[in-house]
C-alpha cells in the first residue's frame, strides 16, 4: 500500500522536475507573494496617512504591524494557488495522455492513486509556503522590522504555520483533485477548482476586518475542523472518481 502511494508521489515529482514551467511556477509564486507583502509593509506606512485609518500620527509602526499580521493568512494563498494548477491538472493530464486506463489496469487502488497525487502536490506546496515565510522574515529583519516581527511569533503564528497551513494545503489539493477527476478538460478543472481560493480569501477578510480574532484556541479548533473536513473530502474524492465515465467518455 505504502509502496504504491510513494510510487505515485515519486512519479508526480519526476513529472514536475521534467517540466521547467512547473519549476518556474513553484519559484515565482512565493517570490511574487513575498515581494508583494514586503512591498505593502514598506510602502503603506510610508505614504498612507495613518489618520485615514483612524490611527494617530506617528503610528506608522502600528500600521506596519497590522499589515505584517496578515502575512500568516496571506501565505495560505500559496498552497491554494499551487493546488489550482497542479491538482486540477493531475487527473485531467492522465486522461489527456491516455495513461489513466493502463494505470487503472495495475493493482493500484483509486484511493492510493488519489492520496499519492494529493501528497505529491501538498508537500512541495507546503514547503514552498514555509520557505516563503522564512524568506519574508529574513527580508523583514533585513529591513529593520525585527522588533515588529518578533511580536508576530506567537503560538497563533506557529499553529497557523504548522497546523492550519497543512490542513488548508491538503484541502486545496483534495478539492483540486476532485475538480480534476470530474472535469472534462483542463480549463473546466481549473474553473471548478477556483472554489479552493474562496475560503482562504474569507479567512484573510475575517482576519483583516478583525471580525474574528484568531486566538491560539480558535486557530487550533479551525485547523482540526479543516483536517477532519480533509478526511471527509478525501472519501468523497474516492467516491466521485467515476472510473467508468472517465474511461468510456474520454476519447
Amino acid at each position: 500500500m505504502r509502496r504504491r502511494i510513494w510510487n505515485v508521489v515519486h512519479m508526480e515529482w519526476a513529472g514536475i522536475a521534467a517540466t521547467p514551467s512547473s519549476l518556474l511556477f513553484l519559484a515565482v509564486i512565493p517570490a511574487l507573494l513575498v515581494g508583494q507583502a514586503v512591498f505593502l509593509s514598506w510602502i503603506v506606512p510610508r505614504f498612507v496617512n495613518p489618520a485615514i485609518l483612524g490611527a494617530g500620527a506617528g503610528d506608522a509602526d502600528t500600521l506596519r504591524l497590522l499589515i505584517l499580521k496578515q502575512f500568516p493568512f496571506f501565505v495560505l494563498l500559496i498552497p491554494a494557488m499551487i493546488a489550482n494548477v497542479f491538482a486540477t491538472l493531475s487527473i485531467v493530464e492522465e486522461k489527456v495522455t491516455r495513461t489513466l486506463e493502463p494505470l487503472l489496469a495495475t493493482p493500484v487502488r483509486t484511493w492510493e492513486l488519489l492520496v499519492g497525487k494529493i501528497v505529491a502536490g501538498a508537500v512541495p506546496a507546503l514547503l514552498v509556503a514555509w520557505a516563503s515565510a522564512v524568506l519574508f522574515a529574513a527580508v523583514g529583519f533585513g529591513l529593520g522590522w525585527g522588533p515588529l516581527l518578533r511580536t508576530l511569533f506567537t503560538p497563533t503564528f506557529f499553529l497557523s504555520m504548522f497546523l492550519l497551513m497543512p490542513a488548508v494545503s491538503l484541502m486545496s489539493f483534495v478539492i483540486g483533485v476532485i475538480g480534476s477527476s470530474r472535469a472534462s478538460d483542463a480549463k473546466a478543472a481549473q474553473n471548478l477548482a477556483v472554489v479552493i481560493i474562496f475560503p482562504i480569501f474569507a479567512l484573510i477578510a475575517v482576519q483583516v476586518t478583525g471580525l474574528v480574532a484568531f486566538t491560539p484556541l480558535r486557530t487550533l479548533f479551525l485547523s482540526l475542523v479543516l483536517l477532519a473536513a480533509d478526511g471527509l473530502l478525501l472519501r468523497a474524492a474516492v467516491r466521485l472518481f467515476a472510473r467508468e465515465s472517465i474511461v468510456t467518455r474520454w476519447k
Binding site: 510510487n7 513529472g15 495513461t99 489496469a105 495495475t106 493500484v108
Partner: protein
Amino acid sequence: MRDPEVISTDGLSKRFGERIAVEELTLAVPAGEIVGLLGPNGAGKTTTLRMLAGILAPTSGTALVDGLDPAKEPERVHESIGFLTESPGFYERLSAERNLTYFAAFYGGVDAHAAARNGIEQMGLAGRGGDKVGTFSKGMKQRLALARVLLHEPRILFLDEPTAGLDPEAARNLRELIVSLKKEGRTILLSTHNLTEAEELCDRIAVFRTRLVAIDTPGALRDRQFERRLRVRLASMTEDWLAALRAEPFVRSVERGTDGALDVRLADPDRDRPRLVTRIVEMGGQILEVREVERSLEDVYLSLIEEATE
C-alpha cells in the same frame, strides 16, 4: 483433455444508460489459447476486455479471470493479467525506463528497475531506455506498451487492437512478438479489425455484434457459414458430361462459371472428391485443375455480421 479455463463469462452484459454495449456474453477460454475478438466498431469488444480487466463493472452476469471475479477483486485480477489498452498512453516527458519502472512498482514481488530494463531489452528498444517517450515512433510506443503489459509476467493478456495504426513492418514485428507470447503458454484475448492478423494468430475467433455471434476456429467458421465447393477446370466440356455429373448421387450441384470452370458441391467433399475425378476421367474429360474454393475470413466475417444484423 482440455486445459482448464482461465477466462470464462456467463451472461455478461453491460449497458451505458439505454445503450447496450455487451449482451449476454457466455464464453470460455482454456489456458494457452489465443482467441480473437472480431466485430465492427461499437460491437462491444473493448467493453468486454475492460470488464474482464476489472476496469468496468458489468451490469449483469459474471466473469472469472484466473479464478477471480474482476468485478469483486479487480486489484487481484490485475496481478495476473496484462492489459494492452487501445492507445499506448505514456508520460511523454519522461524516459521509457522511468515509465516502465513506475508501472512495474505497482506489482508485488517485482523488481521494478530490473523488470523495466528487461522489458526494454526484450522489445528491442535497448539503447533507447533513457530517451523520452515523446521522441518514440508509434511502433516503438506500441512495443513499449507491450513491455509494460509483460512487466509482472502475467499468464493472461488482453490486447486491444495491438497493431492498429502501425506500418506493415511494425505490425509484423508486433505479431511475431504475440506469437512468441503464445509459445510461452500465455492465454490471450485479442481484439482486432485486421482479419488476416486474426487468422494468423488466433486459435479461435469470436465474432461480436453486441452479443456473441459465433465462436470457433477459422476453418470451422468457414465450414459453418459456407458449404465447401470444388472448382474443376477441364480442357473441354460438353453438356452431356454436365448432365451426367448432375445425375451422380454424390454430386449435390454443378454450375458452370463464367470462366468455363465447374463449381461443384459434393455430398461429402473429402470422401467424394476422388469419385468425382474418376467419373470425369471415365467420361473422357481432361482435368486441368481441381481445387477447393477458399472462402476468406472476411467473407465469413461479413456473412456472420450480416446474419446478426438481420
